[in-house]
Amino acid sequence: MTATAETRPVRAVAEPPIGWRLYRLLRAIPTWVLWGLVVVWSIPTVGLLVNSFRDRDAQRTSGWWVGFVEPGSFTLQNYRDVLGSGPTGGLWDALLNSFAIAIPATVIPIAIAAFAAYAFAWIEFRGREWLFIGTVSLLAIPLQVALIPLLQLYSGGAQWTIPFVDKTLRLFPDLDLAGSVTAVWLTHTGFALPFAIFLLHNYIAGLPRDVFESALIDGADHFKIFWRLVVPLSIPVLAAFAIFQFLWTWNDYLVALTMIGGNREALPATVAIASLAGEFALRENLLTAGAFVQTVVPIAVFFALQRYFVRGILAGSVKG
């Protein structure tokens, strides 16, 4: 970048000065337009952030940009209210629930998908390609098709009435999972697997073959190869998927809303702030703080580990 920026004007020196200046101006246009877009893109978030530090009256009577003119009006009261234990609070519990969903829903699919991706990539067995394509094609399935049966499974177990003889067999016990965080992360685990297997397989299948062959000659079995070679070599893609999945489960609303329903004890942060938003203008001032608290975790993860996140997205959609 810097190299071209330095060489271009040198070529332009030969032109008359006015042309050179115009040229430089035109050269800078992309930068100006880009940064203009960045400002436009950031305004909504910045507005929310500023408003979250202003009290109810200030939020209702003047725009957030006024806050810069009258800085005296900033307060932490919204955050205190929304995180506290009062009738308006409870977001702290919701954040804990979000962690209780997002952590197992990130760790367990990584492990399961890594096993499967390794098997698809390096264990020979019949029907491997067919099974792999079948698994990964489930990537595009809308989750909605699974919600009703899964909720029934969690709230009443699964039974099968054998046709013609009218005998009922219980296939899955009624664990009374509906309304618990367990139901949510179990669901996320299943839903995440096609993408996880796809992503991890792309990477693991690309590891150099001779590494495996020399290990096999040394008498290592698949379990050893998996733990000693594949897992350490795949750390980048595992991290990429972990970030992806963490953001996805932390930000999920549909699954949590469906599986937890009305159980206030187990609501994650997204559902909590959405229900706060459902009360319309009643506690709108708290909504800003609530939304920011819910957002700050994924944004922190995002900025800290952006490199891996981008890698995950690229590996998921661009081949080669």
Binding site: L22, P30, T31, L34, L37, W41, I43, P44, T45, G47, Q59, T61, S62, G63, L96, A100, P104, I108, A111, A116, A119, I123, I133, A140, I141, P142, L143, Q144, V145, I148, P149, L153, V165, V181, T182, W185, T187, G190, F191, D221, W227, R228, W250, N251, D252, Y253, L254, L257, T258, T270, A274, A277, T288, A291, Q294, V301, V310, I313, L314, V318
Partner: protein, 692 residues
Amino acid sequence: MGALGDWVWSILLAGGGVALTLYGVRERMDPERSVRRAVAAVVGVGGSLALGWGALVDEKLRGTAAGVIVAIVVSGVLFVGANRWFDQAEARWRRFGALTGGVIGFAVTGVLVGNRLLAWKPVPELDLTPWLVPLGTVAGAVCGLVLTGLTERRARLVAGLGFGVGYGVLAGLFIRPDIFPAMKIVPLLAWPVVGALVFGALAAGRRRQVLRAAILGATVGWVIGAWLVPALGTGTRAEAMSGATFLSLGSMLWITSAPPRTAEAQRRLAERSRPVIFLAPALVFIGATLVIPTIRTLYLSFLGPRGEVFVGLANYVDIFTDQEIVKLEKWPQIFTSALFYWGVGLTLLGIVAGRIRGRRTGRTFEPSGGSITPIAVGVFLFVWAVFAYLRGTIFNNLWWVFTVTIVSTAAGLAIAVLADRARYESVAKSMIFMPMAISFVGAGIIWRFMYIARPPTKDQTGVLNAIWVGLGRLSNSGTPRLVTAAVLVAVVAGLVWMAWRGWRGGAGGVVAGAATAILGVVWILYRLLGPGLGGFEIGPNGEVIADTILFIQETPFNNVWLMVVLIWIQTGFTMVIFSAAIKAVPAELIEASKVDGATEAQTFWRVTVPQIAPTIGVVVTTLIVLVMKVFDIVKVMTNGNFDTQVLANEMWQRAFTEFNFGLGSALAVLLFVSVLPIMYLNIRRMQKETVR
């Protein structure tokens, strides 16, 4: 679990963790092992600290931490255990036999106890039923240990006979009286005979061991004849015992009639078990949460609201005849809307432009920036005109897919190109990318504050209405209006000068860009000085009253404002992908086209775009799938009111607020069917890649 229990657990875990760490440090010779021990130690120490701290702080945290740790440790132990289990098959066959027997015993008794088929109540008030599971496990382990020790054929068969009868009688003792079968002689005899004949014939056809297959068939037949056909609960214990005994005997004989495995077969078993062990967890989860539920949803969609009566296609008919889901009555307005005329006009303009250029090159139609751009914009506007008046859930959903996919892709591509030649590229890109990390719910709330409209007499607190109303005030003010007009005139002058320079220099792109900009600015200037710009009304006394836009409520374009939220989120995603794809275009190609004298625009359209075409395809399909099931934004911002309903929210409301599972399932199936073409494309693409 009380706080004390947590402390005990914590101390145990911490102790184990510390011991493992010390062990790992001591054995530093094997780095991989010590890594594993270190992980175990971190889990142990960290988990126990979390538990202990949680016990001190609050119950919620403790429960959360405990749940997370238990879930993760249990899954790890299961997987490692399965691997260790089949490791034994090669080295220690008898140990493997005992383990396998134990697992089978555990599974069989577990299923029987779980289905309330067995009960153990020595005295009425003492229920020992759960203890049947470990008993069954031990019995299975003993059986496995004995059988794997026997190599002689007759000894195996005798052992099979003994175990079969023994377990059958034993199980018969625990069968609950309410499932005693009332056997009938005809099915009892007929089914095993039929089973044996069918299985035997099948095996003979495939040249397998006919007798073994017949035993298996007879056993399956016995299950049908003795347990499935008769009425349960009216029989005697003798009937139940015989039912169990012959079942158990058949199964054991089937197992023991197989020849003992050779060392080679044992090794093969260990090897063949690997793909199963590695794949089973994933396939079980995918099957249980995706495949089976999808099939069940399809089934439910043919049933009534509570899944009790079969209604055929009634749910689907309901969807397409529902006045809210398909609203066609406004269609004549399509042809009177401004969007329609703009769309048609621009398309014609593009065709004419292409024709004129074509005359020079001798073709009927010459595609170029001057012809393709107006046609693309024209078609876009035309489609908008259609969707603005064909309303209802389905068309609205399609409008979402159309708009968000196209705008996000185009904007992402444009920003990626722009960023490629701008300074501080990476910082700017990550700022635009950042909304990807924000939840749809959070984004909905963020944009709600952007769109908010306050009463006209008050200050506007939403950015967009503040600008809109501000413009209205500006065009009704004195001096500020003139100053703004003067600035705009200066801008026009500058643009004219630029266009002239471009004309002199032969840069067609500069001329076209400047001309378009001049048109836009002149239009704004006209509005400002003439009828007025922005949101205002003139009151009865000539005063200026703010006239806000109700972004969320005014149909049909409130939908567009909701789409903006998704575009805001997704453009970062497309930009990142396109940015990487553009950087991956070989530099030689770009250089070569520049050497050949192509302009920047030509290079972009004729070299870069074809190079990144596969990426564009992937991005578009990904977006279509994503937008098709848009839910959170609509749910949070309007909940489908004000004519903004989409399929996913319709489905959710029907299924989970009205509890009409039949209609909800049908809507889900509709959603599923609408992404099937994309799934097909993905499969085709993957097939090509695996072939390569």
